[in-house]
Symmetry: C2
């Protein structure tokens, strides 16, 4: 990127200089002059392109026909958070979607990935999902990760052009270096409705989030989620009913109905009950918490290798979430080889509304 | 009301002159100088006070203690629309909450009410709920009205002061003239939790909407709804998921959880299933309609005694809902003694979103 573009972006507040330990980098907080939001410039001038957002289809048959004239690859969509991994000056860094160094992911990389690949391919960019019950960002986690977190590479950028490797080249490279990958289900065309339908029914039964489709030859990308992934989201977030944008829930309800409409449901009464319970159990939990401790929140727990990174993460939490976060007493604390961080995100609207309601106030609506 | 107040309200657009057939009246479209929204002034200067909105408690125990130091009356809350009935120049008129003459209600009064009471009490104002499956405004209807509509008086204003009669005086007057009334469950204090709890569990099982509490001696009024009335609302409105304010659904989910938290639920799995089905069946209906006819809507059917009133109502629909309403081909049509009006309210966001989704478009969210 030429010097003027960078200076103008900085001057206009579209980009900002950041520092993590000894690493100084520039992050694009907005799209600017064709540079995507989340793009990062490293000290040596290398650009880490912002990861593009992927369109959602909600009708498998019609969506695939409309989006793909030719073949596409189907890979598992992992319910985690998106990071881009790069090596700089012999150190590995994980950048968040927004272009910040993520202290948690960066700290844990030695546990999650064999770095050998970067010895022979120092300019590689790995795009990966970090997912699991002990992640500090998301309530959800995929069924195949039972504890802590795991990493799933789903895209690789090799050249300076910033283009993603085609899935076969990506798989070959991943196999050579033993990179943990998101499952690939192979190459399809829009005519393979039957095969894709049964893969999605299987993923739905397993509790997987769904599929990402990648057009061959750099074709477009789309995603399609399973019906049950919507119920899982509602179940995990129903105690945040008044704190999340209400569309969080209405969109998932509609997606669930569209999934069952198109792919059917093995047991409709069971599905209806799962959905009702997803709402009721979380809400009853929230009411109980409000009565017991006067507040409603969601608790997170994650582990760090280095105390210093836990402190970086706490600083980030306090900068972004402020009073809405309670760091647990005595956190981080040592357990075996790790520093355990526990904190609670306070759900302010649920806390306030339930406090008023349970105090007997009358609402006018 | 003095002339200046009226002139100023008219000048400021807080009130407007309206006409229904030969009746000319003034309607307050906003609160003004202590005059409530929905207040109506008749040609003889009589004032029809706007009906006050009633606060909702969502915790029975705490709510009643907080709202009522003394005794209160508990009456059934009817799931219908609110009208105020008056006689003027020997004719009966029904005014809506907003202060408009309702052509439907006014047309049907001879079927719904014995007008004898107005012969001996010409200045009486009856506040009533009109409810039933054949009403032109609401999707819902109470279990005790199996067809057409019925009328339930719940308040009576006798004096020029505009005060509501105390429940005993109201019941006595209603009994004398055989007025159809909302059920009264008697007089209670905040200590009668047990009794009120079992009444509400009974109402919940019957599918009734809930209770309205009226403090003795003109004390405050509050309402409390049953858990299942929330499921019924969701079930009737889930095909409007994207057209109603999303709070319509989130508020009802929270009320349901608060009801079961406080009053329990006979059969939790059944309740969970009812809730899930309430969402899924309506949404699947909407998806099916979109695929079949390319639009999603809610159909209404109601009957009129006089064709002219049906035409007044159609004019009102077209003025207020415009292109969002389709009057059925050949409506109103004669059936026996009535003119049947059928129309469909088009759900524009559901129609548009489902059309795009089912055409295979990708959404970025």
């Amino acid at each position: 990127m030429d010097r003027n573009t960078l200076d103008e972006a900085l001057a206009r507040g579209k980009a900002e200089r950041r520092r993590f330990e000894s690493l100084e980098y520039v992050r694009f907080s907005d799209g600017f002059a064709g540079i995507a939001r989340g793009t990062v410039q490293l000290p040596d001038g290398r650009l880490l392109p912002g990861y593009p957002s992927i369109g959602r289809i909600q009708s498998l048959a019609r969506g695939l026909r409309r989006q793909y004239a030719g073949p596409f690859w189907a890979e598992e969509k992992i319910d985690g958070f998106n990071v881009r991994l790069v090596q700089h000056d012999g150190a590995l860094y994980a950048f968040s979607r927004g272009g910040f160094v993520c202290p948690f992911s960066t700290d844990r990389l030695p546990d999650l990935l064999d770095p050998t690949v970067f010895e022979s391919e120092p300019a590689l960019i790995l795009c990966a999902e970090i997912a699991g019950p002990e992640n500090p960002y998301l309530e959800g986690s995929p069924p195949q990760v039972r504890e802590d977190v795991a990493l799933f590479v789903f895209d690789i950028i090799r050249g300076a052009d910033g283009a993603f490797l085609e899935p076969p080249a990506k798989s070959a490279l991943a196999a050579r270096y033993g990179l943990p990958m998101a499952r690939s289900f192979g190459r399809f065309t829009a005519d393979d409705q039957q095969a894709l339908g049964s893969i999605l029914r299987q993923l739905d039964a397993e509790g997987s989030e769904g599929l990402v489709f990648k057009g061959e030859g750099g074709g477009g990308r789309t995603k399609y989620v399973t019906g049950r992934s919507n119920i899982a989201d509602i179940s995990l977030c129903s105690e945040q009913l008044l704190d999340l944008p209400p569309e969080y829930f209405t969109n998932r309800l509609l997606r669930l109905a569209l999934f069952t409409d198109e792919l059917g449901s093995a047991d409709a009464p069971a599905l209806e009950r799962e959905l009702g319970r997803a709402f009721l159990q979380g809400l009853e939990r929230a009411v109980a918490r409000s009565r017991e401790v006067g507040r409603v929140g969601h608790r997170f727990r994650c582990r760090f290798r280095q105390r210093r990174n836990a402190e970086h993460f706490i600083a980030h939490l306090e900068a972004t979430a402020g009073r809405r976060v309670h760091i647990a007493e005595g956190s981080p604390h040592r357990e075996g080889d790790y520093w355990i961080l526990e904190f609670e995100r306070i759900l302010q609207r649920m806390t306030g509304t339930l406090a008023n309601v349970l105090a007997g106030q009358a609402q006018f609506d």
